[in-house]
Amino acid sequence: MVKAKEYTCIGCPIGCPLQLVHKGSKITEISGNECDRGAKYAKQEFTDPRRELSTTMEIVGARWRRLPVKVTGPVEKGRVLEAARRIHTVHVTAPVKIGQVLIKDFLGQKGIDVVACRTMEAIV
């Protein structure tokens, strides 16, 4: 049976309204996109939706109590909340350097880490 799904593209500020027509798991048509990114996004959204994730982690001995961190690759959309909760169970001690790996192979994904987004010096 032919079915249609609707998305709003998140590729750029225009936010094209996208329509994806599919037969089971086979995509037959994508429309509404003003550029290739829209088609790519609709396809990704249909087959394996993912999101970038940045959040904060507890840090001890620094000027601030939270350290901004990010996951270096997109996380499955359905696991974003779980991923954030997982990061929140960890804490680090200052000093931390920007780019420093805090959790390696995050959620069992090889090569995808949680890294620090800034340097925080130790404060005595």
Binding site: I10, I14, R63, W64, R66, A84, I98, C117
Partner: protein, 429 residues
């Protein structure tokens, strides 16, 4: 050099956020020697430290960075370029001597109250958030009502949650981003309420921050009353009529302990006003020439103090230029006054700068009043440019080349945004 502030300066930059950092680097690029950047916070970098989401730097660094990454990269550049930097330092006033020397009054813990002499000043104080008082929400005055940016600071830097059950008034991008942040941190977000019939934030933020987490966005709806004695207990929300007045017969109560406000930003111009410089009532910032100079010679302005930008990258670009011109001014470069006034016309809310000179290329920043698509920008009778769409939340940026202005002999240039011409397909010239 960190925490150094002594002697006379060529350029003093007031504010160490993205605008100040850009201006300090721009001044350095101009060849000016002694540059000082002042910031009232403990560390320079401004609001970027608390904007932990990504989306910064695509234009300037050509990669997508989080706010803290953008701040750190930029701050390291500023320090590497031997700019003096004084943090925890509050500028309480600026005055100008008859010979043009500027006296910047600075207060900090280390030196007390000092006056710094400088040839040029760049105002880069940024903007602040509108609060409950600016829209006068009726009700009691309990705790639990705060701006979205303050909540962002509490959550992302200080590690406090502002509440458990949160409602958000206003759908600006900070509000949308905070809705997601609070859900990720374990709060319940009961809804985002927007008085206008459209979202004020980018649609991609509506998708990623609200839809993904099942947070409802109620358009044409506002908060009509706040209840609670010590703490917010509930809010009354109501749909609005055509005059944006709440329709109380359709009002309903929503239980929550916190109300976040994301209802707009105001350029922070107390210092500019104390200098007596000319202001633009629409932008809320100073009127500026094509060299980003205010009506006070040698005083320049850039970033959100001038007009509220969408992207930090644009702030950086504008500020590098402001710093460059301020640095040149300090070295004695004087340009002829601009002789073309730029006038906002049909569907144009404002355009920056306010005046142009025919000798250089200019980048024009402007905002429309209403969304339109497709459309064209008409610059006097000099040029026309087609656009796929314009929307009030999206800054419009384009360039005017000097050869165009060379042929222009009038003293004012009007910019209009008009519907696309019929019969011509998009993309043709």
């Amino acid at each position: 050099m960190l925490d150094r502030m002594e002697g006379k300066y060529d350029v003093v930059v007031v504010g160490g956020g993205p605008a100040g950092m850009g201006a300090a680097l721009g001044a350095r690029n101009s060849g000016a020697e002694r540059i000082l950047m002042l910031d009232r916070e403990e560390e320079a970098g401004g609001i970027l430290w608390q904007c932990i989401h990504s989306g910064f730097g695509l234009h300037y660094f050509r990669e997508e960075l989080t706010g803290p990454e953008y701040a750190q990269r930029f701050l390291e550049k500023v320090i590497d370029h031997d700019v003096d930097l004084a943090t925890s330092s509050y500028v309480s006033g600026i005055s100008v001597d008859s010979d043009g020397t500027k006296n910047v009054r600075v207060m900090n813990e280390r030196q007390g109250l000092v006056t710094i002499n400088t040839k040029a000043v760049v105002l880069s104080m940024g903007c602040r958030e509108r609060t409950r008082g600016s829209i006068r929400i009726p009700g009691t005055r309990p705790s639990g009502i705060l701006t979205a940016g303050l909540a962002q600071k509490l959550v992302n830097l200080k590690g406090y949650l502002p509440g458990r059950r949160v409602a958000i008034l206003g759908s600006g991008d900070i509000g949308l981003i905070m809705a997601r942040r609070l859900v990720l941190e374990g709060c319940e977000v009961v809804g985002v309420f927007e008085i206008m019939p459209y979202s004020n934030g980018l649609s991609r933020n509506v998708v990623q921050c609200l839809d993904d987490f099942g947070i409802p966005l109620h358009l044409s709806t506002t908060v009509a009353y706040i209840h609670g004695r010590d703490r917010v207990e509930k809010i009354t929300v109501a749909p609005v009529d055509q005059d944006l007045k709440p329709v109380m017969s359709k009002a309903r109560d929503i239980k929550c302990d916190t109300l976040l406000l994301s209802i707009g930003l105001i350029p922070e111009n107390e210092l500019s006003l104390s200098l007596g410089i000319l202001m633009d009532v629409v932008t809320g910032g100073p009127r500026i020439s094509s060299t980003l100079e205010t009506s006070m010679p040698g005083v320049f302005a850039s970033g959100n103090v001038l007009h509220v930008h969408d992207l930090v990258d644009f702030v950086t670009r504008e500020s590098l230029l402001a710093g460059q011109f301020a640095g040149e001014w300090a070295q004695g470069v004087r340009r002829p006054d601009d002789n073309i006034r730029l006038l906002p016309g049909d569907n144009v809310r404002y355009c920056i700068p306010h005046t142009l000179s025919p000798e250089r290329e200019h980048t024009i920043y402007m905002r429309c009043k209403e969304a339109m698509k497709p459309c064209r920008i008409r610059v006097g009778n000099l040029m026309e440019k087609k656009l796929r769409f314009v929307a009030p939340a999206e800054m419009i940026i384009f360039k005017i080349k000097p050869d165009l202005l060379d042929r222009f002999h009038d003293d004012s240039l009007r910019i209009d945004i008009l519907p696309a011409k019929k019969g011509k397909r998009h993309g043709q010239s």
